[in-house]
Subunit: 335 residues, 2 copies
């Protein structure tokens, strides 16, 4: 027996169980050049909300009545490809099916000796690379500058704040619970942490950024960003990574911000990690070096069970996760 998670209706606001169905299917047969993969860990990410809509974007929409997909770690349980063997641990973009087939050359083999296999979905995967390239290429932080990070306790944000400290910045993190702000201050070493659910963000930000804001790494958009724009310094850089506050709000409205950009000659650049595909090795090398040196750390929030993937995904929009949100589907055979 096999199960898959299908998109059955496109949400217009927050995604919920009515949009998603768990369907019983058959275990597929790998063709020549393919492998059969058992899912071990599934990554759920805010960007997937965009794929549930039918709008033109940088990545194709999910199809109705087809499985959703995303980054996973899995184990090869049957191989019809020379490059992979039974028992190999791989990562790739795969459908949300407990057992799934894939062409071997679309997967990357993980060496479990190098560290926990889940890091390939987090700090040594897309979130880590997103943090690295967005901050270094767009933000271009300089020693002594002020870096503000929204969604600072998430998978991307928690990496950004740490790279910001490595770069010598005054780092201000914004997150949605006292547990998260304590984590930012005590574990990640940010200079100031703001709980946007209980504190007045504009006044706290102004106090936390006495020299203004030089770099803003934005995961959330919305009212938090509205509070950052007036503080931008001349030639400030904003890496627009996400806008999770707007994803579930059709036609979200807010103050127009163009005048702030003109006043400060500031830059906003949207990006996705795929823009940097040709430089992924540079990113991996920096991230794994910092990780080995103990200059980077990470947290994971792991939900158990294939059937709980939807709830783990919905929880991203409530901010229930600290660090990288994963779902453990099953254990590797050798563990």
């Amino acid at each position: 027996m096999n199960h898959e998670i299908q998109l059955v209706e496109r949400p217009t606001a927050a995604p919920s169980h009515e949009h998603i169905k768990i369907v019983e299917t058959e275990k597929p047969e790998p063709a020549q050049g393919e492998v059969l993969v058992k899912l071990l860990y599934v990554s759920v990410d805010p960007y997937m909300r965009g794929r549930m809509s039918n709008a033109k974007s940088y990545i194709a929409p999910f199809q109705l009545n087809e499985p959703m997909e995303g980054g996973v770690v899995g184990e090869v349980v049957q191989s019809k490809a020379d490059s992979l063997s039974e028992g190999d641990i791989i990562t790739g973009m795969l459908p949300w099916q407990e057992f799934t087939t894939a062409k071997a050359d679309t997967l990357r083999k993980i060496d479990p000796e190098l560290g926990p296999i889940t890091t390939s979905l987090g700090i040594l995967g897309m979130p880590g690379l997103t943090a690295y390239f967005g901050l270094m290429d767009i933000g271009q932080p300089k020693e002594g500058e002020t870096l503000v990070v929204s969604g600072a306790a998430g998978a991307v944000g928690s990496t950004v704040v740490q790279i910001g400290k490595i770069a010598g910045c005054h780092v201000v993190g914004i997150a949605g619970s006292d547990e998260k702000t304590a984590y930012l201050k005590n574990e990640l070493g940010v200079d100031e942490a703001i709980n946007y659910k209980t504190e007045d963000v504009p006044s706290r930000l102004e106090a936390a950024c006495p020299n203004g804001v030089d770099v803003y790494f934005d995961n959330v958009g919305g009212e938090i960003s509205d509070a950052v724009y007036p503080l931008l310094n001349k030639f400030a850089r904003i890496a627009q990574c996400g806008a999770i506050s707007s994803y579930n709000v059709p036609n979200a409205q807010g103050p127009r911000m163009q005048s702030y950009l003109i006043k400060s000659s500031a830059l906003i650049k949207g990006f996705t990690v795929g823009d940097y595909q040709e430089r992924f090795n540079e990113g991996f090398n920096h991230l794994s070096k910092w990780l080995k040196e103990g200059r980077l750390t990470y947290e994971e929030t792991i939900t158990e069970g294939f059937e709980n993937i939807p709830d783990a995904f919905f929880g991203l929009f409530e901010g229930t996760n600290l660090g990288k949100q994963l779902v453990k589907v099953s254990a590797p055979s050798n563990s």
Copy 2:
């Protein structure tokens, strides 16, 4: 006798006569190193609206009960400086006083043989340089790309569209009257011109940009920009020069646009011409070469009379000007 135009109250919405007063004063005496200047032409520009407010910006606010100031062309009528003589035509940033004094080294002497003296306030002045640097440095137009320009029939926009054609772009200009769109099509050679006051901008833009939008030179912000964002191509560049639609609207609201930037990995960069001060010669050289070659042309809307400066300025927000809006204060002595 002398007159000056003072700011007497800060506007919160549209500026009007209640905010400005014409005051009779005495003709000033130049000190050593200074000259006495008779104003010939005064430039009125949208950015001056920002200086009427007290908010922090790239340029200091006008002071209450002090003269407003801006770019002018004037004639030296008395000199106590070695570098300038009576009869010299100069340009500089000077107060709105019929007769005013200035340190000679803050003024630039114009050679009237090289062309009409008003061009130093237009195509060979700040508006021309603004167009050149915003388009070339931020927009980076490439042959065959689509360039959209808002405020396309103004002093800056009309230069941008022409440089866009020189760069080999498909150029779409947006302006506010049939006279202006006819000018854009017939005189400036744009490929498509849209009258935003009478046409449906979103549908007309979509039809005018069958290959999407690669570069957007934005003078206006607001609803016109809202219609451009959904059409942005991957890696599009927006030069945010102005946002005139919002200047007179306190707390202007609109759709949040961060998601569009993420979807297209697009960039918005605010700027002011002063950011490029060290490259002004490069800009002058290109603009004057193109002007001589007949590849650039320009229009001026000239209002007569010092006392009509306020109305000429207010008119910018109604879009009454075609090309550069100037006020002629008096004629040069030798004309």
